[in-house]
C-alpha cells in the first residue's frame, strides 16, 4: 500500500519550493511530493495547469492531500480537483491548514502509512489550535 502524496500550492514558487524542502528534510523520501507556485507567466499567482501536473507527479493510489496558501490558490486547487478524471477526483483533498506547518505534519502522518482522511484530519487540527 503506497503512502498518501502531498501537493503544495503557493502563489510564490519560492514559498512552495521552500516548503517542499522542509518536508523532504524533516520527513524524508517515503512520501510522494510535488509543489507548484506562480501564475502562467511566472509572476505571483497559481495555475490550474501547474496544479494538475503537480497532482499527477505526487499521485498515489492512497490519495493526495493538498496544502495551499491564500484565496486563488484554494479556488484554483478546488477547480483542478474537479477537472480530474472521476476515479482520481475522489482521492484528492484540499486541507484547511496553514501551508508550511500543514505540509510538514501531513507528510509526517502520510509517511507512517495513514489514510487520506487521517492525513487531512491531522493537518486540519492545526487550524483549530
Amino acid at each position: 500500500m503506497s503512502n498518501v502524496g502531498i501537493v503544495i500550492v503557493s502563489h510564490s514558487p519560492l514559498v512552495a519550493e521552500g516548503t517542499a524542502d522542509m518536508v523532504r528534510q524533516m520527513v524524508g523520501d517515503e512520501v510522494p511530493l510535488a509543489w507548484c507556485g506562480g501564475d502562467p507567466d511566472g509572476g505571483l499567482g497559481t495555475s490550474v495547469e501547474a496544479i494538475l501536473a503537480a497532482i499527477d507527479k505526487a499521485w498515489s493510489e492512497a490519495g493526495v492531500a493538498m496544502l495551499v496558501d491564500l484565496g486563488g490558490a484554494e479556488t484554483n486547487s478546488e477547480m483542478a480537483v474537479e477537472m480530474l478524471p472521476p476515479e482520481r477526483g475522489g482521492k484528492v483533498v484540499v486541507c484547511n491548514a496553514p501551508i508550511v506547518e500543514g505540509a510538514v505534519i501531513a507528510a509526517t502522518e502520510a509517511s507512517g502509512g495513514a489514510s487520506l482522511q487521517e492525513v487531512r484530519r491531522t493537518a486540519e487540527e492545526l487550524s483549530a489550535l
Binding site: 501564475d39 502562467p40 507567466d41 499567482g45 497559481t46 495555475s47 490550474v48 484565496g71 479556488t75 477547480m79
Partner: protein, 202 residues
C-alpha cells in the same frame, strides 16, 4: 446545417478587447483592495480567448462558452480564473440551443449559482456577484441590453460603499469601504461589451 452564429466572434472579440483595454484600471482597483493582479490576470485570460477566436467561432454558442471558460481557468492564474471560468463553462453547459432570451436568462442564473458555490460567496460581500445577480434579474425581467447595462453600472458603483467580507479584500475590513470592487468592475466591462454588441435587440 450549422449552429454557428456570426455574432459569436464579434461578441467574444468585443468582450476580450474591452477587458484588455481596461486591464490597467482593473489592476489599480485591485491594488487598492487586493493584490493588484486582477487586470493583468484577466488580460492574460482574454488574450488566450482571442488566440482561440477562430476555433471558438466555428462552434455553437454552448460549446464556445465552455471552451472560452476553460481558457480562462487555465490561463488567468488568480482566483478570477476559476470564477469567470466557472461562469462561462456553466453558462455553456446550461444553455439550451438555439439560444433564446429566456434560455440565456435561465442559464445565467444557473451559472451564477455555480460561481457562488465555487467562491463560497453570496451577494452583499463586495464581489462580482453584486453585479451579476442584478444583471441576471434584469435579463429575466425582459429588460433591453441597454437597460441591463445601466443596471450593471449602478450595481458596480454600489460596491464602493460595501464592506468586503470575501476574498483578499476582506483582510482590509473597513478599509475596503470606499473602493469599487475589481471583480464587480470586470463583470460590468463584460456586460457593457455584450450589451453594446447586441444593441437594441429584444
Amino acid at each position: 446545417m450549422s449552429d454557428t452564429d456570426p455574432r459569436l466572434r464579434e461578441i467574444f472579440e468585443a468582450v476580450a478587447q474591452a477587458i484588455i483595454a481596461h486591464a490597467d484600471e482593473l489592476t489599480e482597483l485591485d491594488a487598492a483592495v487586493g493584490d493588484g493582479d486582477h487586470g493583468h490576470n484577466m488580460k492574460r485570460g482574454m488574450q488566450a480567448v482571442l488566440g482561440e477566436l477562430d476555433a471558438l467561432s466555428a462552434k455553437p454558442w454552448n460549446d464556445a462558452l465552455k471552451a472560452a471558460g476553460m481558457q480562462l481557468v487555465l490561463k488567468v492564474g488568480g482566483a478570477s480564473g476559476p470564477l469567470y471560468g466557472t461562469l462561462f463553462m456553466t453558462l455553456g453547459k446550461s444553455l439550451d440551443m438555439p439560444p433564446t432570451r429566456e434560455g440565456v436568462a435561465a442559464a445565467l442564473q444557473t451559472a451564477i449559482e455555480a460561481v457562488m458555490a465555487r467562491g463560497k460567496a453570496s451577494t452583499g460581500q463586495k464581489t462580482m456577484l453584486d453585479v451579476l445577480v442584478p444583471v441576471s434579474e434584469a435579463l429575466a425581467a425582459g429588460r433591453s441590453p441597454a437597460e441591463v447595462a445601466e443596471v450593471a453600472r449602478k450595481a458596480c458603483a454600489a460596491t464602493k460603499d460595501m464592506l468586503a467580507t470575501k476574498g483578499r479584500a476582506s483582510f482590509l475590513g473597513e478599509r475596503s469601504i470606499g473602493h469599487i470592487d475589481p471583480g464587480a468592475r470586470s463583470s460590468l466591462i463584460i456586460i457593457e461589451a455584450v450589451a453594446a454588441q447586441l444593441g437594441d435587440v429584444k
